[in-house]
Symmetry: C2
Subunit: 345 residues, 2 copies
Amino acid sequence: MPARQVAVAEAARPFFVGIDLGGTNTKLGVVDDQGRVVAQHKMPSQIEQGPEAGARRMGEAVRQLLQDLGISAAEVGRVGLGTPGTMDIPAGMLIRPHNLPGWENFPIRDRVSHYCGYPVTFANDAAAAAYGEYWVGSGHRWQSMLLLTLGTGIGGGIVIGQLNIQGAHSHGAECGHIIIDYNETARTCPCGQKGHLEGYASATAVVQRLEEALAQGAETSLRRRVEQGEKLSPLLLAQEAEKGDPFALNMIQETARYLGIGITSLLHTIDPEGVVLGGAMNFGGAESPLGRQFLQWVREEIQRRAFPVVAQNLNLEFASLGGDAGFIGAAGLARIDYRQSRAAL
Amino acid sequence: MPARQVAVAEAARPFFVGIDLGGTNTKLGVVDDQGRVVAQHKMPSQIEQGPEAGARRMGEAVRQLLQDLGISAAEVGRVGLGTPGTMDIPAGMLIRPHNLPGWENFPIRDRVSHYCGYPVTFANDAAAAAYGEYWVGSGHRWQSMLLLTLGTGIGGGIVIGQLNIQGAHSHGAECGHIIIDYNETARTCPCGQKGHLEGYASATAVVQRLEEALAQGAETSLRRRVEQGEKLSPLLLAQEAEKGDPFALNMIQETARYLGIGITSLLHTIDPEGVVLGGAMNFGGAESPLGRQFLQWVREEIQRRAFPVVAQNLNLEFASLGGDAGFIGAAGLARIDYRQSRAAL
C-alpha cells in the first residue's frame, strides 16, 4: 500500500516530523500517530554549505512546515532524523557519511534539535526506511521484517517487533556487506572487501557486470545502445530485457539469484516474517511483468536454498512507500521513543 | 566466569528451573533470580521410551529437585525448557528433532508443564545456551551477543537486550546455515545445501576435511595414529597440533578462517557487542595455548574482513558455562516470561 494521506483536522494526535537527509535532496514530512502523511516538503540538501547551515535549514523547515499546517508545539510528539553513511547513533554523530562531504564528525542530532526546538531521534536512513515499510508499508501486517534497498549500494534494515536492529557500533543491518563468496576469486565490493552481496547485486555492480560481459563480447541488443552513446544502467538493461533480449533477461535473473543467496543467509539468521525489496533498482516493480519476474526469480533461488519451513512461508514483496519510506520511518522511530519516554513517566 | 553456585538460604527469590533436553542426557537445574545455580541433576534422556514418558520423567525430576531443596511452589517463578532440532515455539511443539527419534510433532511444552505443575517457557537449545552465556556467562557485561556452538553441527543464538531471536518460523539464529560460498564447487552441509558455514567448520566438517586431506596424501603425524586404529576427531587433531605437526596446525587455522568469514557476515547483520564460541570443539579453550591461538586466528580473519569500527571493537571469547549454559539459559528465558507476565498484571 502507498503512503496514506490525512488532513490535519482528521489526523490522530500527536504529530511526528520525519527528516530523510540525502546527498542531493532532503525530504521531510509531518506524520500523524497512525503513520498517515499530513504534509511533506522536499528541498536541496546544499551539502556544500556545511553541516551547521544544513542543521539550521532542516530545523527551520520543520518549524515552517508545522506553522503552515497550524500545528502547535503541544501537538508535536518528537522529530526523527535518518542520515546516510557511518554514524554513532547513541552519540547522535555523523562519522564518515560518504555522500555528505565535509559533514564528518558532526553532532547532527543535537544541532537539528537545537534549531527545530524538539527532541530528535537519530537513525540510519536504511533503518528508518525499513521501519516506514514495517509500520505502514509492505510489511504492515508482519511482526518482523527485513528490508534490502537496491540502489548505488545495498542498504539494509531489520525490524523485530519494536526493535530496529542498529547494532552495538551503529553497524547493524549492513546487509549489503554479508559475504556470499569467501574465495579470492570473488568480486570486490566498493567497500574494498571480497565477496560481499553488494559487489554482485547493487545497481553499480550490475553495471560493472554488464561492462565486463560487453568487453568479453556478449551478444546483446544493449551493445548497439551503448555504441549510440547511451550509458549502461539497470533502466537500460530493463528496457532491452522487456524487448526480449536473452542476455539482458539472463543478467537480471543472475542478479536475482545473487539476491536470493544473500537473503537466504539473512533468513537463516533472522527468520523474519517477510522480506521487502526497496530502492530504485526494481526493474519496474510490482506494476511491471519484468519486475514481477525479477521478484519470482529471487523467490525461486530462496526456495532452492532455504530451510523448507522458511521458504514455504516466505513473504517477499517490493517496497510500497517509495521515496517516502525514509521520512515516514524516521517519524515512526521518533514515535517509539516518544511513547517509551511517556511510559517511563 | 563459570556458573556461580548459591545455597537455598542465600538465594534470591523466586527460583527458576531450567531443563536442557539432549539426545543422550537431560540436564536440569534450579537457578535463583540472579542466575546462580542452587542445584542440578543429570539423567539419561531415555529417548527410546517415547516423548510422553520423557515429559513425565522431566516433570517428576523438576518436582523432586525442588522437594529435595525444600523449595515450595510459591517460591518458584516458572520452568524453562530447551530442546534440539526443528520446533514450533509458539505452539510448544517438537516438529522434527533429528536426535530425538520418535518424538516428532509432540506438544512437549504443555506435557512437561502438566507433569511438573508449572508454566513452561519453550526455546531452542542453542538459543537457551546463548541466553545463559549472556545472562551470567562470557557475555554478562554486554547488551547484545552472538553465540556459535561448535559441535556435531554449528548452532547459533542471538540475544539483543531482552530479545532472544528465535524467528517468525522458529528458525532464527541458525547461524551454521549461512552461505559462505554460493558456488557449485562449495562443500555440502549435512542439511543437504551447498556452501553453509556448518559444512566447513563443525566438528563433523573438520573430520571430513581431515579424511579428504589424508586420502590426498597429506603429510602429517595424524596418519600414523589413524593407521594405529584411532579415529579422526578434533581432539586427535588438537593433540597432533600441540606436538607441532604443521598440517594439523594449518587445518585448525583454516577452520578458524572459515569461522571468521561466517562471523563477519553475522557481525554485519547484527553488530552485537560480543561473540562467544561454545560447544565441545574448542581446541582446549581459553585454558590452553592452542585454544587461545585458535581464537586469535578467528579474530585475525574478522579483522581482515569486517568494517574497521566493528573489527576494532570486537569482543570474542570462549563460552564459560560449559554444559550448564543450556539449563541456566532456559531458566533465564523463563525468568523473562515470568517478569513480563508480572508486569502485565
